[in-house]
Symmetry: C2
Subunit: 242 residues, 2 copies
């Protein structure tokens, strides 16, 4: 479909509002990722509880975005490209909600992990979290700027998050084998690492949508493997055999 050439100012203002809400939501999600890992390392139970609480705001914004999308479509009847823009905002909001959910899940594990002895891989997680949070921020910046090149750059960095995950997976397995007391904390750190790996995948999904919205084409190829759950990282999880 060619561009509808839709130029109604009211529509553009609505779309700007909508994109503003998506950015706000993304900012909260990004913050939740960093804060959850800080709470984990500092055994900060109050901080963790605040993250769980603040996720409600993310859900509220998502609900607000849905309402605005319905209102916008009903009132402005956007066509073709405009409609695609509106639906992209809706889908990206949906993904951000998932990202925030992963951050919340990390926060929820803080009290459990804090009860156990600290094991070394714990100190590696914040660096992985930083990478994942940066991918989320950059994907949303690309969305705000409709910048296809920036979107491609985000996808390229998912591999680094996957490498982190695979390395942590092997390390944690070793810890578990060394000492049975490490097994319980290690499984929680493993789930946390998996959450961060999934956040990277979702940031990649957002970037792919930004690319498609900006260029009308699918991104040529995912640099990291064929799909969001990564044949690659699953194979790497075997450990030792490659």
């Amino acid at each position: 479909m060619a561009s509808s050439g839709h130029t109604v100012k009211a529509f553009d203002e609505d779309l700007t509002d909508l994109r503003g809400l998506v950015s706000e939501m993304g900012g909260l999600a990004e913050q939740a990722i960093s804060a959850s890992l800080q709470a984990l390392v500092n055994r900060d139970l109050d901080g963790a509880a605040r993250i769980v609480e603040s996720d409600k705001r993310v859900d509220e914004i998502e609900a607000e975005i849905e309402l605005q999308v319905v209102r916008l479509i009903a009132l402005r009847a956007p066509m073709a490209d405009d409609l695609r823009d509106v639906l992209a905002a809706l889908k990206i909001a949906n993904i951000i909600e998932r990202i925030a959910d992963y951050a919340k899940n990390i926060a929820k594990r803080v009290p459990i992990v804090s009860e156990t002895q600290a094991i070394e891989p714990l100190s590696i997680l914040p660096a992985m979290g930083r990478l994942a949070a940066e991918m989320v921020r950059d994907a949303l910046d690309a969305f705000a700027a409709r910048d296809a090149e920036a979107a491609v750059a985000v996808c390229g960095r998912d591999r680094a998050v996957d490498d982190f995950y695979n390395s942590l997976f092997r390390t944690l397995l070793t810890y578990m084998m060394e000492n049975p007391h490490n097994i319980s904390p290690s499984t929680h750190l493993l789930f946390i690492a998996k959450n961060l790996e999934r956040i990277g995948d979702h940031a990649t999904n957002v970037a792919e949508m930004v690319y498609f919205a900006a260029t009308g084409r699918q991104m040529a190829e995912r640099p990291r493997g064929e799909d969001a759950f990564g044949q690659l990282d699953d194979l790497d999880e075997k450990g030792g055999t490659r």
Copy 2:
């Protein structure tokens, strides 16, 4: 917003087509859950590869649903309740894609798990998978029939899936502690159990949307806890302390 009283036959036909696609997609996802666990238990690598391959069809249908939604909104300009129905189909398709992704992830672990010695919890997973697959099927039946009561029943059963997960979590931890050789297979079974637990959560999300679409009200309260990542199950994961 009150009902728009929209009665254009063409719209109803389009909506029926759309719902047909959602049902087809849901059927594939449900099948993938059962098949993935069967492949796991039977160490059936070919079967697992077929599941990974068939996930592409799920993605294709989701893309088709998106196109139809855009086309339907552009051509028919549905208002109020009709628009909400259309967007509900889009959101449910999005959730089914996630469910199918979890099933695919289980299938991808089959070659890895098949290389290791079988441990007993493996034989418990198919029963948990059956529960989760049934929840998916019943949520989609409720969607097809716009049956709010059936949707409530689906949510009530998520607790059983969570109980399964928590029990498996504890069991697998015990296996890991007993013998270091069990650690690697146990972590994969743990991820598989977590995937099934998440499938139950997503089936619950679908049921909640069906309830909302049918009644215009949010379901009073999730029977299993406050949210999709479950404070409850996270606490239960502590094991032994309650």
